[in-house]
């Protein structure tokens, strides 16, 4: 095989590849639609977040379009899958900014992916409304980055104040070894002092581990009054089963990561009696009639469950709220990104699924402690505690 032939072939191949890139360009954009982008972890380890988020976004956009769109412009969505991989997230964001030329981006679903894309959206001056929970996304505040998911700061605060109320002083914590669990652990340790709580033992487990009895045994040795498990399905379900197996009598608390009917399904009988902080969506039916969020919640649940299979969880709500906030901000902006950004910043009292949003120049998450309630699992369903 001579060098010349090889070179010719390779260069030819490179040209073919390059042409392939060009050919997959999008259609010429119709002047009358507003394009918005979405990047979610639809497949991969965070698909329990990305899948409902994608569906909620599509659902929200459809109802906006059914009502005539925004200022007469219909919304067009371009959604990419990040598989919870920060590199893919960066490439997807770049595609949305430079190829699809969207007006704003909703997502990503996870904190590491969001942190990876922040610099790119800031440089491109593209409004981003993330659905990820990490506090570092909006603190310190970045001009173009907002988020709709409640921070774990609020979740921990809500849980701790409940513990304080029932007089629990000494706990053991068990966290999952990924970004969510790590951030939760950080918050649990940082806020413990403020609520007079001592963490006697902190253990961790892998997201796909099959048995946590060793870690639980270590925690039990310190004789805590309660155990907090901070993770996302399916690990905490295994923990719940292990706790029952080890005949540990002290109360078990979970994080909002398992605030979904799936957790009850996975843990079965061992879910009975577990308490956790959650968005109001799980107990929408139990809320008093004068609760500000009740109407929005009931509507969202009805829409989602009639359009898609399966019961609703709080995660899809992040994207739903993001789309509605964006739609509100786009009114009257004529497609100008700076005006959209400024409009989001000025938005107050937006009643959403995840809470009531009040944005400002220094607050790009907009949620307060009222975003969380503490719920208890009783008879395989949710019961409102506070």
């Amino acid at each position: 095989m001579s060098m010349q032939k090889l070179t010719k072939n390779v260069v030819l191949l490179l040209c073919v590849i390059f042409a392939g890139c060009l050919l997959t360009s999008s259609w010429v954009q119709a002047a009358s639609t507003y394009k918005i982008g979405g990047i979610f972890a639809v497949t991969g380890p965070a698909s329990f977040l990305g899948d409902p988020e994608k569906k909620s976004m599509e659902m929200a956009v459809k109802s906006i379009n059914d009502r005539g769109g925004i200022d007469g412009h219909l919304l067009e969505t371009v959604i990419y899958d990040t598989e919870a991989d920060p590199t893919k997230g960066v490439m997807a964001v770049n595609k949305l900014i430079n190829k699809d030329k969207v007006l704003a981006i909703i997502g990503p679903s996870t904190t590491p992916t969001t942190l990876a894309v922040i610099n790119f959206v800031e440089r491109a001056q593209m409004p981003l409304i993330s659905c990820a929970a990490g506090i570092q996304i909006t603190q310190p505040v970045k001009q173009w980055v907002f988020k709709t998911a409640q921070s774990d700061v609020l979740a921990v605060a809500s849980l701790y104040s409940h513990l304080q109320e029932v007089g629990i002083r000494k706990i053991g914590i068990l966290t999952v070894s990924n970004a969510f669990g790590e951030s939760g652990k950080h918050q649990l340790e940082a806020q413990a002092g403020a609520y007079d709580i001592e963490i006697a033992r902190a253990e961790s487990f892998g997201a796909k581990d099959t048995d946590m009895t060793a870690q639980l045994t270590k925690i039990r040795k310190t004789d805590p009054q309660a155990v907090i498990c901070w993770g996302t399905n399916p690990g905490p379900a295994v923990v719940a089963k292990n706790v029952e197996q080890l005949k540990m009598k002290m109360p078990l608390y979970m994080s909002h990561g398992v605030a979904s009917p799936k957790f009850i399904e996975l843990a079965g009988d061992s879910a009975e009696g577990i308490c956790l902080p959650s968005g109001k969506i799980l107990v929408a039916g139990l809320l008093p009639a004068n609760d500000l969020q009740k109407e929005v919640l009931t509507q969202y649940i009805e829409q989602f469950e009639s359009r898609y299979d399966g019961k609703v969880s709080g995660f899809g709500g992040y994207a739903f709220d993001a789309v509605n906030i964006l739609a509100k901000a786009m009114k009257g902006s004529g497609g100008d990104r700076e005006m959209i950004r400024a409009a989001i910043e000025k938005m107050g009292n937006h009643v959403g699924v995840s809470g009531i949003f009040n944005f400002s120049a220094t607050e790009h998450n907009g949620l307060g402690p009222d975003a969380f309630v503490v719920v208890k699992i009783k008879n395989s369903t949710w019961e409102l505690l506070r």
Binding site: L6, T7, C21, T24, V42, P86, T87, L115, A116, S177
Partner: protein
């Protein structure tokens, strides 16, 4: 011999001009960014190809060196305020040192055992990235990695970074070509064909294997440095076993023992997910199927396989 050298140089010159042309003519940032990632991945594939294709050693944990380069540079430039270019030297030295230490016992193994050893090493390093959170930021990742600049040139823009990555890649391609055509290269290829025979004629196989292992680790570290300062955020999730597998796939599909094969494999595997976006939920199935089909039909990789088809069709 001189003629071969000449033809190789022509190929490199062509690539150089293609890179410059792309940099000048392409306006769209998206394409530039994709091509930059292709460049970084090509660097990874090239280093691994030297090890797997020419020296015949399997490594299933090479993402560890990629990560070591990225994290070392990040830690040095953020925690210790070192100039990023000096951090690059630190990254390469760290990866090389660790490759040297690990290589000595691991390269004594052969075949599957070597693959397993490198796999184990890769997993241990990944756990370290994830759990040593005071140094690496843990599972939540490492933010705030500074952008690169060289005097008046800022590499903040994608176009400039594209040039940087591809110039480094070209330089490495030239180095590798020189290496392959030298005495060392011939000795390496003899090890690939038959280690025992090579030993019989006096080739110092143990040292050579170690040398090429360290060399490929160094190249991966450079790629890691380039990645870290491009995205300015790294997390352990980018350096898992699956990342190592992706690197091996790039080498094998592109064609082993082929510098251009590394380029081809990296291009294809970076672009494939972009093309498969349209398939949404079917993406994983299609990706796996494509891998299998290419390996079943063209086991020597695309470079050899396609050129063979081309040759056969001309007859």
């Amino acid at each position: 011999m001189l003629l071969r050298w000449g033809k190789n140089n022509i190929a490199f010159m062509v690539l150089f001009f293609v890179v410059v042309a792309i940099g000048i003519w392409i306006e769209n940032q998206y394409y530039l960014q994709v091509l930059t990632f292709i460049g970084i991945n090509s660097l990874l594939a090239l280093g691994l190809n030297m090890l797997m294709g020419y020296a015949g050693q399997i490594s299933l944990g090479h993402a560890a060196f990629y990560g070591l380069g990225a994290y070392t540079s990040a830690i040095l430039s953020v925690h210790y305020n070192v100039n990023p270019w000096l951090a690059l030297i630190g990254a390469v030295l760290t990866a090389s040192l660790i490759a040297f230490i690990i290589g000595i016992p691991t390269l004594k193994l052969s075949g599957y055992y070597l693959g397993m050893g490198t796999l184990g090493f890769g997993m241990v390093v990944h756990v370290l990235f994830r759990e040593w959170s005071t140094l690496t930021g843990g599972a939540s990742g490492f933010v705030g990695i500074p952008p690169l600049e060289l005097g008046p040139i800022s590499f903040l823009s994608v176009r400039n970074y594209f040039y940087l990555v591809w110039l480094i890649m070209l330089a490495n391609m030239v180095i590798c070509r020189r290496l392959i055509d030298s005495r060392i290269g011939r000795a390496l290829r003899s090890i690939h064909d038959s280690e025992h025979a090579a030993e019989a004629v006096g080739v110092d196989t143990a040292n050579l294997k170690l040398m090429i292992f360290v060399f490929s680790a160094a190249m991966s570290a450079v790629a890691g440095f380039l990645y870290a300062h491009f995205v300015s955020f790294i997390s352990p999730g980018s350096f898992t076993f699956l990342a190592s597998v992706r690197m091996v796939t790039m080498v094998v599909i592109g064609g082993m023992a082929s510098i251009w094969g590394a380029l081809l494999g990296a291009s294809l595997l970076t672009l494939l997910p972009e093309w498969l976006h349209a398939f949404a939920d079917y993406e994983m199935v299609v990706y796996g199927a494509v891998l299998m089909i290419v390996m079943i039909l063209l086991p020597q990789g695309l470079t050899r396989g396609l050129t063979e088809i081309y040759e056969r069709s001309r007859k």
